[in-house]
Symmetry: C2
Subunit: 321 residues, 2 copies
């Protein structure tokens, strides 16, 4: 009988779902808005109706073996979503408990970057790597840490928030309420903030002076950098220097074999990863120099979040065997 895991990726704007089989094929993919629902109960009611409707289209016989969920500030231990600043539901939401009113299945929830890290292990480039860190670069910087083949959840279930390492005393205001967090510098909005900071000092003859702050985004900076725009290139260099230093600190802490990069900004490829590697080696303790690889994720971008969420269940099944 064919087995599927329901993978759910809850983002601030869209929720993506799919029925993922053993080989990482996603069936009946769906994307629906996350934010029209005032309460989490209404949201879940709608989500379940979408899933039940889709499930009818699966070829019989089949079995759903579990539900994996990636969500911002997802707490693996408790199945809760806690203090997520880009979701409407405030406080501590008992998400898996609410889902269990509809499904009698194993349900596992964690944050989206942890899910992506596990996706890399089950379906991507980390199949044979037991110690690595996944970095997701989008509107924020997420991370999922794998040690001895297992995700690190930590004491309270929230480990792997490298985006909130402090990189600058009294630095930029972060969504978490602190100042100077890594993700205020290294993320799509972060590189834009860096560009405007650099521009305020020296425009370097860049054409980017013709964009408003509102019009500017990481894509524009990427295209300009590809065409040799000095201000755009300098923005990548500054971003890479800060990221490289944090990677060097992560290396002395965890000694991973590799960092994987996933998400919007990481599509900049060598424009970001080459200078990041240079600065990482610059800051690295001699014992660790030239040992750690920076690799693009092998998950296809389109579906990686849903794949990663489903990997939460497949990995658990593998571990129990």
């Amino acid at each position: 009988m064919k087995e599927y895991v329901i993978g759910i990726d809850i983002g601030g704007t869209f929720t993506k779902t799919g029925f993922v089989d053993r080989n990482g094929e996603i069936h009946l993919e769906n994307s629906s808005p996350t934010d029209p629902y005032e309460t989490v109960e209404e949201y879940i009611e709608n989500l379940v109706s979408i899933l039940k409707k889709a499930e009818k289209k699966l070829e019989k016989p089949y079995q759903i073996v579990g539900i994996g969920i990636g969500a911002p500030n997802g707490n693996y231990h408790k199945g809760t979503i806690e203090l997520a600043s880009n979701l409407k539901w405030k406080g501590i939401v008992p998400f898996t408990d609410l889902m269990k009113e509809y499904y009698e299945l194993p349900i596992i929830l964690t944050n989206d970057a942890n899910a992506a890290a596990l996706g890399e292990k089950v379906y991507g480039g980390a199949k044979n790597i037991n110690n690595y860190v996944m970095i997701t670069l989008g509107t924020g910087l997420g991370s999922g840490i794998v040690v001895n083949g297992n995700l690190v959840y930590g004491h309270d279930g929230f480990a792997g928030e490298l985006g909130h390492v402090n990189v600058e005393e009294n630095g930029r205001l972060c969504g978490c309420g602190n100042h100077g967090c890594l993700e205020t510098y290294v993320s799509a909005p972060g590189i834009k903030r860096t560009l405007f900071e650099l521009m305020s000092n020296d425009t370097m003859g860049s054409d980017l002076v013709n964009y408003t702050y509102e019009e500017m985004d990481a894509e524009v900076i990427y295209e300009a950098a590809k065409n040799g725009d000095p201000l755009a290139l300098s923005s990548f260099e500054h971003t890479a220097k800060i990221l490289g230093r944090v990677l060097a600190d992560t290396i002395v802490t965890l000694s991973p074999k590799a960092f994987f990069f996933f998400g919007g900004l990481s599509k900049s490829g060598d424009l970001l990863l080459k200078p990041t590697k240079k600065w990482m080696e610059h800051y690295s303790m001699p014992l660790f120099k030239n040992k750690v690889e920076l690799l693009p994720s092998e998950l296809k971008n389109r579906n990686a979040a849903v794949l990663g969420a489903s990997a939460l269940i497949w990995n658990e099944i593998d571990t129990l065997k």
Copy 2:
């Protein structure tokens, strides 16, 4: 039959050994100089002759079940000591292989801070804690990281070098060759360097102006701080601020339940830990505030390194059961 593990703690100056039983009692403790031996082979020959002589005094019948070794830059995976800057033996020393010429026993080697971390789990305050970090404060800053009840060795066996996190761009020269490493600020020599840096700006009416750099040490600063000396207190405050920030970064990475502190400088107790806690909370991401404890090690200082080394074997035996 009574079982013992031989615990060996290799320091830059002294090597300490003992026969540790199941309850953490150390029998036939010994301390001998590490540095008179030009080659590691001579050193081991002497070490083994000390151990064999001592073993004769053990009450029969008994069994030696293994040898645990804590050493600077000890590589758990390979049993080697690599590029240790405070030992005479240069390059990569195949230490456990050399020991195996004398003993047909399980021999496990790791760095001293990892050994101390495991000692805390087997004999100290971490018996019921599965996620924590041990910080050893002496002439350097060592750390041992425990995740899900297991030490983190990382891909190459050297994980847990928090002393070499970069805390200051172009900062103080470190023994590792880099600049700005945490241990150049937070360690016994580190607080002394901070004191002289602060003194060069403002002596604050401190009596410590009467000490040469050569005469000054962490003990003197501690005693002065206890008596309210403003320069000494300021040195602790500066040290605590830097340490607190790195602990906050470690929390977002690993989400430990506690940090344990061990070693010379940690004897300063609340003088160091109270301001460190304050700064750690200051820098912590809101999600993690007021969740993580700072605790003094419950290992007795006298013998903790040997205890920790023996715990490497006892823990392995427990895990295999």
